[in-house]
C-alpha cells in the first residue's frame, strides 16, 4: 500500500468546488509535486494533507493510518510555508528545537538534533541569530530544518521558493532535493513553477480547476502531455487543430499539409477534428529531401532567448514556434522569407478531448 494515499478527496468552500475527486498514491521516499496555475486547488489539497483543511469527501491515509479527521498537531507531518513562518521571537536554535520541546524531548537530545539540523542546512554558525537577521534563503533553510527536526512521516512544502530571487531559488531547490534524497523522506511539493517541478520531482501531478489532469514523471509530463491543458501549461507547445485523414495509417491534415503521427488514432474516424501538439524544439528546417511531415512555412518573427532562438513561422493560417539552440555561427533565416519545416512522426502528439 502507498505510504501517503489520497482517495476521492473533494473540498468545497460554499458553492465553490476547489478540489474534486482527487486520487493520488505517493510511495515512501518519493518526491511528488503538485503543479498548476493559481486557484487550481494544489495548496488546498496540501493543506488537507497537513490537516489545516478538512476534506468535504474522501480520505487521507498516512503510513496505513487514516488521518482525515486527525488535528494537524497530531499528524506528524512537517510543513514549510511560502512566507517562511519562523517564530520572530525565537532564535534559529529555538525555532528548530520548538517541535522537540513541545514533544518534551530531553534537553541533550534537542541540542544534538538542532546541531545536526544546522549542519544539514550548512548554517552551523547561525544558531543564535533571530529570523530578522537572516536573508530570505537562510530563513527558508531554517524553516526546512525546523520541519525536519521531528523526523516527520511526510514533508509538505507549499511554494517554499516563491518569495526568493531567481538565483537563490535555483540553488535552494537543488539543496531541498539533495536533503530529501539523503533523508529518504516522503515529500509533497506545491509549485506553479514548471521548471522547479520538472527539475526536482520524481513525479508530478498537474492540476487544473480542482482536478488532476495528469500524473507522471517529469519526462512523461513534458514529452507526452495527455491533455490540452498539460500541453499548454508545461513548457511551450504548438497546439493546432487538425483533421484525421487516414485512421489506419495515422495521417492528419493541417492547412493542406499531411502530417503523420506515431500515436494511435483508435476511436477516431476519418474526418474527425483533433488537437495536435508539437514541441518547438522538435521542429526544424529541412536539411535534406524528405517526403513525410513537410510543411511550407513563412518566417514571421525571430526572438533571441539566450541559449535558444525562437522562430515564429506560419503554415497557412496556423502559426508555429520553432526553437533552435543558439550558435554564434548560425545563419538565421530572414523575416518574410519562405522555407520548409519538418518534424518526426513521434513529435506529433494527439491530445485527448
Amino acid at each position: 500500500m502507498a505510504y501517503l494515499k489520497i482517495s476521492n478527496v473533494s473540498k468545497q468552500f460554499g458553492e465553490n468546488a476547489v478540489v474534486q475527486d482527487f486520487n493520488l498514491d505517493v510511495e515512501k521516499g518519493e518526491f511528488v509535486s503538485f503543479l498548476g496555475p493559481s486557484g487550481c486547488g494544489k495548496t488546498t489539497t496540501l493543506r488537507m494533507v497537513a490537516g489545516f483543511e478538512r476534506p468535504t469527501e474522501g480520505q487521507i491515509i498516512i503510513n496505513d493510518k487514516e488521518v482525515t479527521n486527525v488535528p494537524p498537531n497530531q499528524r506528524k507531518v512537517g510543513m514549510v510555508f511560502q512566507a517562511y513562518a519562523l517564530f520572530p521571537n525565537m532564535t534559529v536554535n529555538d525555532n528548530i528545537g520548538f517541535g522537540m520541546k513541545i514533544a518534551r524531548k530531553p534537553a541533550d537530545e534537542i541540542k544534538n538534533r538542532v546541531e545536526e539540523m544546522l549542519k544539514l542546512i550548512n548554517m552551523e554558525k547561525y544558531g543564535t541569530r533571530y529570523p530578522y537577521q537572516l536573508s530570505g534563503g537562510q530563513q527558508q533553510r531554517v524553516a526546512l530544518a525546523r520541519a525536519l527536526a521531528l523526523s516527520p512521516q511526510v514533508l509538505l512544502l507549499d511554494e517554499p521558493l516563491s518569495a526568493l530571487d531567481a538565483k537563490i531559488r535555483v540553488s535552494l531547490r537543488s539543496e531541498i532535493r539533495a536533503i530529501q534524497q539523503r533523508l529518504g523522506i516522503t515529500t509533497v511539493y506545491v509549485t506553479h513553477d514548471q521548471e522547479e517541478a520538472l527539475s526536482i520531482s520524481d513525479r508530478i501531478a498537474v492540476m487544473y480547476q480542482g482536478k488532476i489532469e495528469q500524473v507522471g514523471t517529469p519526462f512523461e509530463i513534458y514529452n507526452f502531455p495527455q491533455t490540452a491543458f498539460v500541453a499548454k501549461f508545461v513548457g511551450t507547445l504548438n497546439t493546432i487543430s487538425a483533421e484525421v485523414v487516414d485512421v489506419n495509417n495515422r495521417i492528419l491534415k493541417i492547412d493542406g499539409f499531411q502530417l503523420e503521427t506515431a500515436e494511435n488514432l483508435d476511436g477516431r474516424a476519418n474526418g474527425d477534428k483533433v488537437t495536435i501538439a508539437i514541441r518547438p524544439e522538435r521542429l526544424n528546417f529541412i536539411a535534406q529531401e524528405r517526403k513525410a511531415n513537410v510543411m511550407d512555412t513563412r518566417i514571421e518573427n525571430i526572438s533571441f532567448l539566450g541559449s535558444v532562438v525562437r522562430i515564429q513561422v506560419s503554415v497557412g493560417s496556423n502559426r508555429f514556434y520553432m526553437d533552435t539552440f543558439n550558435n554564434p555561427f548560425l545563419e538565421l533565416p530572414k523575416i518574410g522569407s519562405t522555407d520548409q519545416m519538418t518534424c518526426s512522426r513521434e513529435a506529433v502528439l494527439v491530445l485527448k478531448d
Binding site: 489545516f52 530578522y132 520541519a147
Partner: protein
Amino acid sequence: MNLPFGWLQFAQNRFKRQQKPPDGRRKTPFWSWVWFIGGTLYLALPLLATFSFSLQMKRDTISLQAYKSAFADPAFINSFLFSIGLATVTIIASIALIVPTAYWIRLRLPQARRTVEFITLLPFVIPAIILVFGLIRIYSQPLSIPFTSLSMGQSLTNSKYGTLILIVAGYMVLGLPYMYRSIDTGMRTVDVRTLTEAAQSLGANWYTIMTRVILPNLRTALLSGALLTFAIVVGEVVLASYLGVAAFGPYLFLLGQHRAFEPAALTFATFLLTWIAMGIIQLVTGGQGQTTGAH
C-alpha cells in the same frame, strides 16, 4: 522590457526629486516649517504655561511647592493608586477579551472583521455620558434574564464590587478602539495565521500557540494598547463621577474647583508620566517586530 524601463524611469524621477536646485542650496519648504512651528507652539505653549504656573505657588519665587502639596494629599495617593488599579484590571480584562477575539477573526472569521471594526469605533461616536447613563439605567435594577421573568440578586450599582465591575466594563468600552486596533495591527504584522499553522504542524496545542508564539510576538502591540488604555482610565472623569467612584479623574476635577496650583502640577505630572511610559515602550520594544529577511 517594460520592467527595467519602468524601474529606470522611477529611479530617474527619484533622482530628480532629490536633486538640489542649481544654486546648490535645498529649497526651504517654507510652509512646512510654518505649520510645524505653529503646531509645536499650539501643543507646547499650554503645557509650558501650565508648568510655569505650577512653579509659582510661592509668591515671587520659583518652587516645587505645588507638587509637594499635591503629592502630600492622601486623597491624591488614594485616588491615583485606585485608578492605577482600575487601569490594570481594565488592561488585563481587555487583553483577555480582545486577543482571542481578534485572533479568531483573523484565523477563522475574516468575514466578521468589518462588523467588529465598526463596533470598536462606536466609542468614538457615542459620548461617555450616554454610556454611563445606559449602564446606570440597565444595571440599577436587579439583573434579569432576557425574555424571562427571572432576576438575580441585587442591582450592580447598589454594591461596591458591582459598581467596580460596571466601571471596568465601561473603561473597556472606552479603550476598545485603541486596544483592538493595536492588537489587530500587531497580528497583521506577524501573520498570526501562518505562525499558528507552523506551530500546529510542529505539534503545538492552542494553549502553547497562544502563550509561546502569539502573545510574545504581540508584545509591542499589547504595550501600545495598554498604554493608551492606561492614559484613558487615569484621566477619565465622566464614568467615575456618575458611578460615584473615587478615581483620579474626578479628584483632579474637584481639586481644580478649589485650588489653582496643585491641579496644574498634577496635570503636568500626568503628562510626564505618559511620556515616561512611552519612552519605556520604545526601550522595551526597540529592534523588535522585524519579520522580513535581511537581504
